[in-house]
Amino acid sequence: MLKLTNVTTGYGKLEIVKNISFQVNNNDNLCIIGPNGCGKTTLLKAIAKVLPFQGKVEIDGTSVTSMKHGEVSRKIAIMSQTSSLYFPYSVYDTVMMGRYLHMQGEFFKTPSKADKEIVMKCIEAVALKDVKDKEITKLSGGQLQRVYLARTLAQEPEIILLDEPTNHLDLKFQIELIEYLREWSKEDSHSVIGVLHDINLAMRLSENLMVMKDGKAVAEGKAGDIVTGSLLQKVYDIDVAGYFRGALKRWNGGCE
């Protein structure tokens, strides 16, 4: 269970995220939507304790600030956007990095049989078994995104934070990813907090939504309750609902 209370964070003196509070229970998800620059990614970083923040972030009642960094990472994993890579690790090795925290045992930290099994399972889950020894620098954007997903899954967190992970994926994989995470979040005490551009996918991933603009939460609650045409217009500065309604009409019409 993740609870935020009045979280404010930013870079240096610049405040990007202002006073955010919400709660996500086990097996529930939350999607955060909003225009670029509204602070979604920054908020995620604060939750994962990558950025310092003011306010409280609690996991199952314990504040993350009182937890050691390693403990936080056992609970929370971020699946980031891909960045420029220099070093060509293999897919397998990259996913194995997700097991880092679980391998803290001996001096040279060799992976155990369990580690190896989990890694293979995750690689299979993202359908990359055929290229498991290929260098990640040689993969397509979509494949790379799936490697990162596998790595995040291998970390076996309770909470996955998704940072716009669908940018490079084609529709098939986008949908598959969302569906996979929906199932994942139903297991154990998992939750997914996703930052997504696509409102439709966001609403598919979770019922709960938080709409952000300029660092503040403009609306939160069940998607069905809060998402209205006028809200989207206010937040995105354009008639989003009208535009999609138009597109949907054309689609439906075409499918007949």
């Binding site: 990472s73 056992r74 980031s80 960045s83 070093f87 990095m97 040279f108 930290k109």
Partner: protein, 336 residues
Amino acid sequence: MKRKITISIIISILALLFAVALGSVYISPMDILRIIGSKLFKSQLPEAFSDTNISIIWNLRLPRTLVAFVVGGMISVSGAVMQSVLKNPLASSYTLGVSAGASLGAGFAILFGFSLPLIGGFSLPVMGFIFGLGTILLGISFAGRLDKGFENNTIILTGMVISLFVNAMVTLMSAIEREHMQRLIYWQMGSFSAQDWKNLFILLPIAAVGILLVFHYNRELDMLTFGEEQAKTMGVNTKLVKWILLIAAAALTGSAISFAGVIGFVDLVAPHVVRKIFGSSHRYVIPMSALLGGVFMVICDLVSRTVIPNQEIPVGAVTALIGAPFFAYIFFSKRE
């Protein structure tokens, strides 16, 4: 992979043998083995073996070659660490000021004829090491203060600024005390000429501790190459790990160049070649950099003392002459 490693080890042994076998003076391989054997097993050699030949093998070539090997390994590992931690293929301890600091320390030792108690003849290397490490520590802690996130760019920039500053001090010293500075200039060019067993026995433990420490963090090194944030989210205590790795790298380079002078390029070339052959995983990159870096240095030292008979050219020039085109080839061919 196993095959590549075995081949590398074989090449290393061959290179070492070659280096001990060749030199200004021809001594047959059989004789060399007998000399080494007699020294190891404390047995007597027949009269026919001249004292000078025995001395050449046991007191000149063998320690020199071994020191070159260890030094090459140390600075190659240091280079590999720097490149990975700072995510910069051209990063090295030199950019962060180790060589500038070591030169300053060496300069002081030469200028004031420092002879610290107890270590006497080692004053020069010790001063070099202390100042070299000190300079880089200054740079890193400055960066840590300026930037809470301990970003790579900050580290590199502060390192360069401090390095330039310290270099300016060295230049000033040279200008004021021209006579003594001839020695400093030669020292800066690097040489394995006066290396003896004592030096080897000091460098070996430092190398062992440094390289093992770095190897201990081989997974973290892998993860750091994905960037600070990603490494953090995977659970790495990035600030602490970076500090430890940078200091270890600086210590390795600092001690190496205190004894051998400033020898460049090995720390750039060796890790890149190793990555090309063995991939990027640091559990291979670290030990193989040590091995192949050592071999490269041994070969350069061999060239420096045999290319012109009876004469020696500074080994730093050889590493640059061989290293630069080699490095250009590796680096630019990678861009495909």
